[in-house]
């Protein structure tokens, strides 16, 4: 989503959000992420205002004091930026890719099932399976911090069964153009 992204040509405008809109965003974050309101309050205090940065292809980036905190495609789920996820790694459920897949991810590729089902990879056990369309943190074999954020293309049990093609679509990763944008 952010392999190529340039603020000068891909941003169409910035607006600060009405408080009613901000309230509904806060409610969505609390229901979509594994986080308590106290922590969201610490990330983005109620008293302070969030800015919506409208971008090409219906991407909305939400910034706080200029720092991108999370984003959304159309009115889909909210994704934290990777830097926010690094601070609060519990926000999203996790999958892991094996070491061999890291360099493909860092080149912007989507993640194939075998990279998730191999010995170095990780998918949740059957009783914690995730349906298709779940935003996930992508971890990497031997690494402590998430390397990317994606969305499941298939049910995680399905990934284990078919074990080919794309399992997780990459949304953002370390070194993409969103990563490079520390302020907007």
């Amino acid at each position: 989503m952010f392999k190529k992204f340039s603020p000068s040509s891909d941003v169409s405008g910035q607006t600060s959000l009405k408080s009613s809109v901000q309230r509904s965003i806060r409610t969505s974050l609390l229901s979509q992420w594994k986080v308590e309101s106290e922590t969201v309050e610490q990330i983005w205090p109620k008293k302070e205002s969030l800015t919506l940065v409208k971008c090409r292809d219906h991407i909305s980036i939400y910034t706080f004091h200029g720092e991108p905190l999370f984003f959304q495609h159309f009115d889909g789920p909210f994704y934290p930026t990777l830097r926010l996820l690094h601070k609060y790694p519990f926000l999203l459920p996790m999958v892991r890719i094996d070491r061999g897949a890291i360099r493909f991810l860092l080149a912007g590729a989507h993640m194939m099932c075998p990279g998730l089902t191999s010995a170095g990879g990780y998918l949740p056990p059957a009783d914690a399976a995730m349906p298709a369309g779940t935003p996930v943190a992508i971890y990497a074999e031997g690494k402590e911090h998430a390397v990317g954020i994606g969305i499941t293309k298939l049910d995680t049990e399905e990934m284990k069964k078919v074990n080919k093609d794309v399992g997780v679509e990459t949304v953002t990763y370390i070194g993409d153009d969103l990563w490079a944008l520390q302020t907007l």
Binding site: S37, E41, Q42, D98, G100, G142, H145
Partner: protein
């Protein structure tokens, strides 16, 4: 306006954020430097700034452990790729710097009619200046109109109402605000007179 609701009573405390150490060279979390394109410089940086972490990531044992489930063959390939990437990135950075230092900023005084001028500034973006922000900055500074427009060659340039060419040259010499990093030696001043019987 906003309803003043108190947080629900309970022991819930905000969870303190984790501070990940990002590399001062490639910006990646330091454990990912090996996948970037500046590994040599990253390693030098880490060794200098965080010698303990350097041990953690680049000691013999660490390199052994890192192999994980990857075969030796795949690891060798990865290292080769990294070295290649590094070379490429260095060559690219060098070429980019050369290009940057060779690029010109043109400040053109254009006569609109007898007493009216506009000033067109072209080429600032090569030095990392955000044109929209710069236009706003000039507009404020000179209390006049300024905008980013495409010139006849299709390149973006800033057009400021009024003759402010001398002031802008001075601002670049003084490295004011947004213009920091624009070398004054790369600035060219041009004048465009109205042809034929303009004005009156």
């Amino acid at each position: 306006m906003a309803s003043q609701e108190e947080p629900v009573a309970g022991p819930a405390q905000p969870i303190a954020p984790i501070q990940v150490l990002y590399c001062g060279v490639c910006t990646f979390p330091v454990e990912y430097c090996e996948f970037g394109s500046h590994l040599k410089k990253c390693k030098e940086w880490l060794q200098k700034e965080h010698p303990d972490l350097y041990e953690k990531y680049y000691s013999e044992e660490a390199l052994q452990a890192k192999l994980g489930t990857l075969s030796l063959e795949a690891q060798t390939k990865l290292e080769k790729d990294t070295a290649k990437k590094e070379e490429k990135a260095e060559a690219k950075a060098e070429a980019a710097l050369k290009k940057k230092m060779a690029s010109r900023v043109t400040i053109k005084r254009i006569e609109r009619n007898k007493r009216k001028h506009v000033t067109a500034i072209h080429g600032l973006e090569a030095f990392g200046v955000d044109l929209k922000k710069a236009a706003k900055f000039f507009a404020q500074k000179f209390a006049t109109g300024a905008s980013v427009t495409k010139n006849t060659q299709g390149f973006d340039e800033i057009v400021v109402q009024g003759d402010v060419s001398g002031d802008i040259v001075e601002m670049i010499e003084d490295q004011v605000g947004l213009l920091k990093g624009v070398p004054k030696d790369n600035v060219v001043e041009v004048e465009e007179k109205k042809k034929g019987g303009g004005g009156a």
